[in-house]
């Protein structure tokens, strides 16, 4: 009998305590209208900033913005950077339930803008004044049919990073001025080239530096370009280095440890972004800086530095697009960009970029390379084109197809994707 009473008391306490869990009888607090708050707006901002960058965003940038705009409140949501994020954003924007502002990879922008998932930013009266303050070539990814759909917030590219000791051993004080000479040097001294993989982000800088191209300048045709004489020659050059074991045999399966290779002198040159230096600290940074020299990929045949980075966009279904635009303008302002550049990323704001370049010596070659960049084909189907390109490059390197044959097949498939 006593036991039964105990159980009843326990059950009663549990029920009463569970009632304390919900402090309010209103289930969706944010949707309730309030007196004297008619002008308050909430901006939901999705981003993929790293841990350190998120701290700057949440502790410095957003509070400063909210001080200037007391009615606007930014709710930052950090997301992990993976393809799933892209599909989540596409489905949310399609259903008009997207966050207001998103910081997304520059390579995703054409797919979003050309699918009608972004709001045109050039419709805002002050757009031209804002874009004037930013590095001009970075905005081109967001351009589509007469409108701009994105605002570049940070940019990067990859430079050719050489091992100083191997250059000195060959009697050179600085890297050769063309990539053809780099290959000749590698052949002569049997130095390794640190090509990291077959994907466009990894292999295109080499191919562009050797004169290759994926499409024509208006991004409408691949046949005659990807399988054109210059590209075939460039890929044949790389393939013969691979056959001669001057490119690591693991390149088809994701590549070897090029970072350590170029620092220790096992590799003559590799391609990497500013993070090659900026993620390191203390002795490790000193070692990287003293053992290597970074230069832009030689623009012998036109720009050969691949443009990367992130842009800010307003997705379809944003509840507060005008307020979102205010926030985006703040994010590319000099003050915000200088603060964020402490983490190692390169600002798109020209003044902030100057300050960054002066502050850190290793940024200089990357800043220089950023003046001569090429875009990964800015079309809706870019991710599928990249898949086709990677698959055929792998087949060529595995010896399944000849260079000419493989590139011609790839170009035909890419043409179909360009037409869609």
């Amino acid at each position: 009998m006593m036991h039964a009473k105990c159980w009843i008391i326990v059950a009663f306490i549990v029920l009463m305590v569970s009632g304390c869990g919900q402090q309010s009888i209103i289930s969706e607090d944010s949707s309730v209208e309030r007196l004297n708050s008619g002008n308050d707006y909430e901006i939901e901002f999705w981003h993929t900033y790293s841990d350190e960058e998120t701290r700057i965003l949440e502790d410095i940038l957003i509070p400063a913005f909210e001080r200037e705009h007391p009615q606007l409140h930014v709710v930052p949501v950090r997301q992990s950077n993976d393809p799933e994020l892209k599909y989540t954003l596409i489905s949310k924007a399609s259903a008009n339930r997207a966050p207001d502002v998103v910081r997304m990879d520059i390579a995703w922008i054409p797919e979003f803008s050309q699918s009608g998932l972004l709001l045109p930013l050039s419709d805002y009266g002050d757009f031209d004044d804002v874009i004037k303050l930013l590095q001009s070539n970075t905005g081109s990814a967001g351009y589509y049919e007469g409108s701009y759909y994105s605002l570049p917030v940070n940019m990067n590219t990859k430079a050719a990073i050489f091992n100083k000791a191997l250059l000195a051993k060959a009697g050179l004080s600085e890297p050769p001025s063309t990539f053809q000479e780099v290959i000749e040097l590698a052949r002569k001294h049997r130095y390794m080239i640190g090509l990291g993989g077959m994907e466009s982000w990894l292999s295109l800088p080499y191919i562009y530096a050797l004169g290759g191209r994926i499409t024509n300048d208006s991004y409408t045709r691949a046949t005659g370009y990807l399988n054109g004489e210059a590209t075939v020659k460039a890929v044949e050059e790389l393939y013969s280095l691979y056959e001669d074991r001057l490119i690591d045999q693991s390149v088809i399966n994701g590549g070897g440890d090029n970072w350590e290779g170029v620092k220790s002198g096992n590799i003559l040159v590799t391609d990497e972004g500013p993070w090659f230096y900026s993620v390191l600290q203390g002795e490790e940074l000193k070692r990287a800086v003293s053992s290597t020299i970074a230069v832009p990929f030689p623009p012998t045949y036109g720009p050969s530095s691949i443009l990367g980075g992130e842009d800010l966009v307003i997705l379809n279904g944003s509840k507060n697009p005008n307020q979102s635009w205010e926030f985006m303008k703040w994010m590319v302002s000099k003050e915000a960009q200088v603060a964020m550049s402490q983490t190692g990323i390169i600002p798109t704001n020209l003044e902030a970029k100057e300050i960054k370049v002066k502050g850190e010596s290793f940024i200089h070659p990357f800043a220089e390379a950023l003046d001569h960049t090429f875009l990964r084909t800015p079309v809706k189907n870019w991710s599928r084109i990249d898949e086709v390109y990677t698959a055929y490059m792998s087949k060529i390197f595995q010896g399944e197809l000849s260079v000419k044959h493989g590139l011609t097949e790839a170009a035909a498939k890419i043409d179909q994707l360009l037409e869609q």
Binding site: D51, V77, S80, D82, D257, V279
Partner: protein, 277 residues
């Protein structure tokens, strides 16, 4: 008959080699977590010359909301584990010992739900949770985890309960005990090895669960540990020392639970000698 020494040697060599093959990646992971800044997977020479230290462990604990997500995961997992075990035991007891119409049909329906891959369930589950107003709450997550866990526990425990001799029940009934007494004092203690195994499985399943948590939880502060682990994968340069240090911290609770319940797995013969003849 005694096994010949060279056959024994061969068997032991194979066992040792097998154990090494399984252990090597784990040891490699532990050793890599001691290296400062491994931005590509380090070579064996570097890995095996490193001096063990807790530098990366201290660092990752304060990064990417790791500590917060660790506590969130602990709360989610412990409640789910307790809930699914308790309800699973009760349901299994019902199926094992009571007769009611449609019992086998119901049990088979239970089993049928186990055959459906979790990913297929995610949309209907989300819609149900949404109609309850439980999106972005742990209640929503617990409902799915416990609901999913009960089915497996029931299936696993029913057979175990059925193997317990009915004579025990009769002795309780003679002494004036009811069904609850039989369940609590006979079935649960007798089934500890099975329950301990289930506890580890349930804990591990929920602790590592990523997809449902990502769908149901929207609030950044309420996310669980697998999401924090994912945040260590940087877009441009991933520090594998941090990834591995974080993964090892995430592994510790599962390993601890296994060690705690390990004795229970091998302990048998609870009910031996309890029944005459």
């Amino acid at each position: 008959m005694k096994t010949k020494w060279h056959i024994q040697l061969l068997v032991y060599t194979l066992i040792v080699l097998g154990a090494l093959a399984f252990l090597f990646p784990f040891v490699y992971m532990i050793m890599t977590s001691f290296i400062k800044g491994a931005y590509s997977l380090p070579r064996p020479r570097e890995v095996f010359s490193v001096i063990p230290n807790l530098y990366n462990y201290q660092l990752v604990w304060s990064k990417n909301n790791f500590a917060r997500y660790f506590l969130n995961s602990s709360l989610v997992t412990l409640v789910s584990m307790a809930g699914s075990l308790f309800l699973g035991c009760l349901t299994a007891y019902g199926f094992a010992r009571f007769k009611f119409p449609g019992k086998e049909f119901l049990f088979r329906t239970f089993l049928l739900t186990m055959m459906i891959p979790g990913v297929i369930n995610i949309i209907p589950q989300f819609l149900i949770i949404k109609s309850f107003g439980l999106v972005n709450t742990y209640w929503g997550l617990w409902l799915i985890y416990i609901g999913g866990g009960v089915v497996g526990s029931t299936f696993f425990l029913r057979g175990f309960f059925e193997s317990i001799p009915k004579e025990y029940e009769e002795s309780v009934l003679i002494d004036g005990g009811g069904s609850w007494r039989i369940f609590w004092n006979i079935y649960l203690p007798q089934s500890m090895p099975a329950i301990a195994t289930l506890a580890v499985l349930s804990f591990q399943g929920t602790w590592e669960e990523y997809f449902t948590a990502l769908v149901i939880i929207k609030d950044e502060a309420m996310r669980t540990l697998p999401i924090a682990l994912l945040m260590f994968n940087d877009k441009y340069a991933t520090n594998y020392s941090w990834v591995f240090a974080a993964s090892i911290i995430a592994l510790i609770p599962t390993v601890l639970l296994y060690i705690i319940f390990q004795k229970r797995f091998v302990q048998g013969g609870f009910n031996e000698g309890g029944v005459k003849g």
